[in-house]
């Protein structure tokens, strides 16, 4: 991705490489999240989706390549700086602050995230608790939350940092159909409030439903980019997921 498209990209990865010893988890990857977009990120297990999230959010530094947030290089910055510049994430397995209440956890994001003048942290935290349908659990200890609630709490904490970009990692996995629908509804609201989303998901009905474009990874490299309809017809994608048919 370069040229005019790059200028309007909210987040951009250019030629990003990440190796773990002899294993190349991400190989010369180009990826762009455009302004106002929900970008689905799919691929078989081990394709490099979570590694890419860890690179974008500063948990790992890439071995080579660049990562830009609103045109600014961020690949050398630590996690908390990237968060404060407006990129927040959730975790595949929720990572709650178990000793806190729901409100306190979300307040962490509101107090330490991106600073927006004139917005008291407690107000932001309460708005995010409400957005993620956790009002009734506001003062509950986090350890009493079930999986679906913990996933929404991860989301609330990330949103409380007032991000421009949100990385969502498998927020629908392990949920029942009602909970999946509810979660997809929350993501739509988040998007409507002007936040760009990169959405990693194995639950296809969720990711295909709300993504404007889908970026497909396999073995750390791009195998397809397109609308949900396009990528589901793409032979390379079908092969990556199902294998080559015996006849061909």
């Amino acid at each position: 991705m370069s040229g005019p498209a790059a200028a309007s990209a909210l987040v951009e990865a250019r030629g990003v490489v990440k190796r773990f010893g002899g294993l190349t988890a991400v190989h010369r990857l180009d990826l762009a999240l455009r302004e106002g977009e929900i970008l689905g990120l799919i691929g078989p297990n081990g394709a490099g989706k979570t590694t890419l999230f860890n690179l974008l959010s500063g948990q790992f530094a890439p071995d080579s390549g660049k990562i830009l947030l609103e045109g600014r290089e961020i690949h050398h910055l630590p996690s908390h700086r990237i968060c404060r510049l407006g990129l927040a994430r959730t975790f595949q397995v929720p990572r709650p602050f178990l000793a806190m209440t729901v409100f306190e956890s979300v307040l962490v994001g509101a107090q330490f995230g991106r600073r927006v003048p004139g917005k008291p942290a407690a107000e932001t935290a309460d708005r995010c608790v409400g957005l993620t349908r956790l009002e009734s659990r506001r003062n509950a200890p986090v350890h009493s939350l079930n999986l679906a609630e913990r996933k929404r709490l991860d989301l609330a904490r990330a949103l409380a940092t007032r991000p421009r970009v949100l990385l969502v990692d498998e927020v629908a996995a392990g949920l029942n159909p009602t909970e999946v629908r509810e979660t997809v509804g929350i993501l739509r609201e988040v998007h409507a409030s002007g936040i760009g989303i990169i959405y990693v998901e194995h639950v296809m009905e969720a990711v295909m439903d709300i993504s404007h474009r889908v970026h497909v990874l396999d073995h750390g490299a791009t195998i397809a980019i397109g609308t949900p309809a396009e990528v589901t017809r793409d032979p390379a994608v079908i092969e990556a997921y199902l294998g080559r048919s015996a006849g061909s």
Binding site: S57, G58, Q59, P78, S79, H80, C83, R84, A88, R89, F91, R95, P96, F97, L98, A99, M100, E104, S105, L107, V108, G109, Q111, F112, G113, R114, A121, A122, R157, A158, A160, T161
Partner: protein, 313 residues
């Protein structure tokens, strides 16, 4: 979130008034005076330790290095003719600087790695202190006995220091800093992803821990009038802080206060008769607490208070 409310201030004043009321009892004889001084010092030390050990979850076995710096700073300045009260801010500052100097690299480690590093730093500090001739070397320093502040002034000083330490602890607990510390204790990676500068938060609170621990050392010097590396930089001291806080309730504001009292009681009345094996006895106690009541006495006491309140109300 106001970090320091009027209620805290009132509680602090109330605590000081209470301590003033019981002063005649505790100042009845030299032994009870000494017990009060030790109690104040323990409260100060345990509250300081708990800031980084309880809130940030970084268990230090090296706080004696900070205590010793405070004790020696006050002793040497006093011997040079500075009034002991005026030496105390200096003692706090030097301990804070020393704490930041070794805390900054060591706090990048977590869990047992940090704990082991703190033992190394504290033991190295003790050995070096033993060889500084200007500070009296291994035989230490004796302070001017004729300038003793007297039991009343020492009691008042100790009470103010102890109450101040508890108020600092309560203020930190309710502040943005405290929220960040608990977040990073629970999950450092998730805290960083939420914007918490993990390294800076830890070093900041460790500077406060170090300053208060240095003040405790300074206080120790003015009431014992004798400092020696084996005592003020000693490993026993570092261990005793961990015990106090674990007994009382780690990560709470009142736990260290409770633990400081329980520790003093055990040390004076139970373990005095077991002098030779007192460390073994403490070790057994520690194992017992971790197995039976890992949250310490404070939560149980809170439960009891709640129960009594419901009965009365």
């Amino acid at each position: 979130m106001s970090s320091f409310t009027r209620r805290h201030l009132l509680l602090g004043v109330g605590a000081l008034a209470g301590l003033a009321l019981v002063a005649p009892l505790l100042l009845a004889n030299p032994y009870s005076s000494r017990l009060a001084q030790l109690l104040f010092m323990n409260v100060l030390l345990a509250s300081a330790w708990n800031l980084v050990g309880g809130f940030a979850g970084q268990i230090s076995f090296g706080n004696a290095s900070l205590f010793g710096v405070g004790a020696y700073a006050t002793s040497m300045l006093w011997l040079a003719g500075v009034h002991p009260f005026l030496t105390m801010p200096v003692a706090a500052l030097l301990a804070a600087l020393y704490g930041v100097a070794w805390g900054w690299p060591c706090l990048r480690l977590r869990g047992p790695y940090f704990a082991i590093a703190t033992i190394g730093v504290a033991e190295a500090t003790r050995i070096v202190a033993n060889h500084i001739e200007a500070a009296g070397g291994a035989s230490g320093l004796t302070l001017p006995l004729e300038q003793d502040l007297g039991p009343v002034l020492l009691y008042a000083l100790g009470a103010v220091l102890a109450v101040a330490a508890v108020l600092v602890s309560a203020a930190v607990r309710r502040s943005r800093l405290g929220l960040g510390l608990i977040a990073l204790r629970e999950d450092a990676q998730a805290a960083a992803a939420s914007g918490v500068n993990v390294a800076r938060q830890q070093v900041t609170v460790f500077a406060v821990t170090a300053a208060l621990t240095g003040l405790a050392g300074a206080y120790y010097a003015v009431f014992t009038l004798y400092v020696v590396p084996e005592k003020v930089f000693g490993f026993d001291l570092s261990i005793s802080l961990v015990l106090m806080v674990l007994v009382g309730g780690i990560g709470t504001v009142m736990g260290p206060v409770l633990g400081a009292g329980i520790y003093l009681f055990l040390e004076q009345f139970v373990l005095a008769s077991l002098a030779d094996i007192h460390l073994a006895a403490f070790g057994a106690l520690l194992i017992f607490i971790i197995l039976m009541e890992p949250r310490g006495a404070a939560p149980r006491l809170a439960q009891l208070v709640g129960l009594v309140r419901r009965r009365i109300g």
